[in-house]
């Protein structure tokens, strides 16, 4: 093996990547060869300079950067929440349009509904709703009358 003509072998030696037998051979060689020894020294010098360079580069305070990263994250996540609300709104609107009762069903024309034009589950549900509403109105009306009667009695 002639490392004088093959810098890659010297580099592998420098990087500690050679098998033991070859490593011993190179070690023996560089003791005698100034040129190869110099090459190894140059790689060593460059490596230590690189390490010192990155050690000595002042790249400011990471804490400060982290805080601003956290703030940015909040801003970034906020629109996702808004999109969910927006999507829910559209889904509800769509559902309302799909299941919205037709105008004749929304009217309080109970008589016509009672006439027996059954139109499926939605109609029956609507009948039920109207009945409940009427009962409520009646009960409120009765309560008002009671209050008025009591008032009259107390005035007498």
């Amino acid at each position: 093996m002639n490392s004088c003509d093959n810098e890659y072998i010297l580099f592998e030696y420098f990087e500690n990547e050679l098998p033991t037998s070859e490593r011993n051979e190179i070690e023996q060689h560089i003791k005698e060869c100034d040129s190869c020894r110099k090459t190894i020294e140059e790689y060593t010098s460059v490596k230590s300079s690189v390490i010192r360079f990155y050690d000595q580069v002042d790249l400011s305070q990471p804490e400060k950067v982290y805080k601003s990263a956290a703030v940015k994250t909040e801003y970034h996540r906020k629109p996702i929440g808004n999109y969910i609300i927006l999507a829910a709104f559209f889904i509800l609107s769509f559902a309302y349009v799909l299941f919205k009762p037709s105008d004749d069903k929304t009217s309080l024309n109970v008589e016509s509904d009672n006439a027996g034009h059954s139109q499926g589950i939605d109609d029956s549900r609507w009948h039920l709703d109207v009945t409940i509403l009427q009962n409520k109105i009646e009960s409120i009306r009765a309560e008002i009358e009671n209050i008025n009667n009591n008032k009259n009695v107390s005035e007498l």
Binding site: E15, E42, V50, V57, S60, V65, Y66
Partner: protein
């Protein structure tokens, strides 16, 4: 490589790797401000995609992969817009042999982003060839050759053939 299959909080990860990520981004971009922006972007991306981390690699490798992609996206974007990233901007702490480091800075400027990155990973990051291969998605043999070429180039710029 620091292995960690347990779930770590963002603040823990930031504490452990922010400096290395920043320096790694700096090695590719050559600019401390851009490196700072990349650091922020990396942790934003991490928080957004945190759930997709499947533990196949270490957090360090995952974060470095995000850093790498973010840096090269920036370089591509700059190239697309026909813009150049700002020249190397950073300051060095006062120390011995400052002139040597300034020469090194000038030498590093003459290398391309990938050479700078590889030198950083191998010499400063103390990454093994396998780890570099995993990060760069290359074969180990290819990485060895690339490391050799990059370091030889740097040596020749600094010292001469």
């Amino acid at each position: 490589m620091i292995e960690s299959k347990e779930k770590q909080s963002v603040s823990q990860l930031f504490k452990s790797y922010s400096e290395d990520i920043r320096r790694y981004a700096f090695s590719i971009l050559g600019n401390s401000e851009d490196a700072g922006d990349v650091l922020q972007e990396v942790f934003l991306k991490y928080q957004i995609h945190e759930d997709s981390f499947n533990g196949n690699c270490s957090y360090k490798t995952w974060l470095f992969t995000i850093t790498r992609n973010t840096c090269y996206n920036r370089l591509r974007e700059a190239a697309r817009n026909n813009a150049r990233l700002e020249d190397v901007s950073f300051k060095l702490y006062d120390g011995e042999n400052l002139d040597d480091l300034i020469s090194l800075k000038e030498a590093l400027k003459q290398l391309d982003a990938t050479d700078n990155e590889i030198i950083f990973l191998r010499d400063y990051g103390r990454f093994t060839y396998n780890e570099i291969a995993e990060l760069l998605e290359l074969s180990v043999a290819n990485v060895k050759v690339k490391v050799f070429r990059a370091k030889k180039k740097l040596k020749n710029i600094l010292i001469g053939d």
